[in-house]
Symmetry: C2
Subunit: 253 residues, 2 copies
């Protein structure tokens, strides 16, 4: 990485620096390599520290860099393809499910969840918390909302709490006939709880996948899953997804 003066460029400096850094990452750095410190990088490229930080944040957003306290800034591996299985039509918690149940509570749901479930706000909802692990790393945190009316024969006696309770609720849910599911993905930011589970700071960008499971002509369960946007690429369709490494600079002709 040689010295490049960016003074004369008309586009925002950080944006040009981002492009220059992207090229350097492609040609000179290996995955996992630690970048020089900010002071040295700023000096080499002839930019202010603030400009450098803006470019580094951009590259972190794009999944090219990872910044971890105590380690520094490293070159990120390609994002993991994580199947969101829009076509398998299976209940959560069945078969080859990559999710681990953490706990389960019974409470009144947030207003938006009650609305999506088409239940009264007063009707208690089981909330199963699950974590999705890939290669030993947490990649997603999920809240799965199941109205009491979806699992009417569940008793409080057996498995009263924790992961065992979560599994008992899911077993009851699986007795219903799944009629279909529909989902949506959008950009969000990690709240404090998600951030902790995903080993991120609050506010970190996440991909939020909302899935509605239909049974008996109504919504029997609602999943809100939060995926790390820095490390994950969500795949759907016939196979494991497209292997193209997706940086915007590679779409320019």
């Amino acid at each position: 990485m040689g010295t490049t003066q960016l003074e004369s460029v008309p586009e925002p400096k950080y944006w040009h620096l981002r492009t220059v850094l992207t090229e350097a990452l492609d040609s000179e750095f290996a995955v996992g390599e630690i970048l020089p410190n900010e002071r040295d990088l700023a000096a080499r490229f002839g930019v202010a520290r603030a400009t450098l930080r803006q470019a580094l944040e951009q590259l972190e957003l794009e999944g090219r860099l990872q910044r971890r306290r105590g380690v520094g800034t490293t070159v990120a591996p390609p994002r993991m393809g994580v199947a969101v299985g829009t076509e398998q039509h299976a209940w959560p918690g069945t078969g080859e499910d990559a999710w681990q149940a953490v706990d389960c509570t019974l409470a009144e749901p947030p207003a938006s969840v009650a609305e999506a479930l088409e239940t009264d706000r007063e009707q208690a909802v089981h909330t199963v918390r699950r974590t999705r692990m890939t290669h030993g790393q947490p990649v997603a945190a999920e809240l799965l909302y199941i109205p009491e009316s979806s699992v009417p024969e569940l008793t409080a006696i057996d498995a009263p709490s924790g992961a065992a309770r979560a599994r008992a609720v899911l077993r009851e849910l699986h007795r219903l006939e799944l009629e279909g599911s529909e989902g949506a993905v959008e950009l969000g930011s990690a709240n404090a709880g998600d951030a902790k589970e995903l080993d991120r700071l609050p506010g970190a960008p996440v991909l939020v996948v909302t899935t509605r499971y239909l049974a008996g002509g109504r919504t029997a369960a609602l999943s809100v899953a939060t995926y790390r946007a820095d490390t994950c690429r969500l795949t759907f369709g016939d196979s494991g997804g497209v292997e193209i490494h997706q940086g915007p600079e590679q779409r320019a002709s």
Copy 2:
């Protein structure tokens, strides 16, 4: 919105301010309403302008606010559900397609595209540029890469350029039998070209949907579509998607 002093809160100030602002947006502001200016907002909440800006940026990322030059900061309408049709298995440009062809060029593809298409870098690829409009607004920009070998009978004589050329290439593509498609969605940032088409600034967060179309046992076309992350929620599955308004604050129990 009353005065709230945030001095004593241990979490990052901007993050707490974001939560307070979210509640104010829910209870006191209507969609489309213009927020007070930054100086007044900062004074009311007892925070520095920098902290306020950080919170506003966060809320813009979450789709709650829109900031436009010459207008100011307004309360955003709920995100639009935009179907990414992972189950319809149709060629791009057929039927009820929401995309408009803009132009078409023939050139050597970027290295990553050649790799995904499993073609030699030297093999020329038709690149069809399309725009997706919803309610008169551009919501996505797409580059659709079609190797010459997918449309061998295309002649240069008829429709030599522009949108007509793009449509001629798509018509030829539709003669192949589509065997399936697979896709992925991930977070990216708008490059200069996408940003212009989407009426955003370069670097704005986007959802990048990559779709590989399979025919004759190989990749016959590759689509890289860039959706505005601030205004779009990508839906898939049996129907038009889940209507829950998805702010992370609503997932907290």
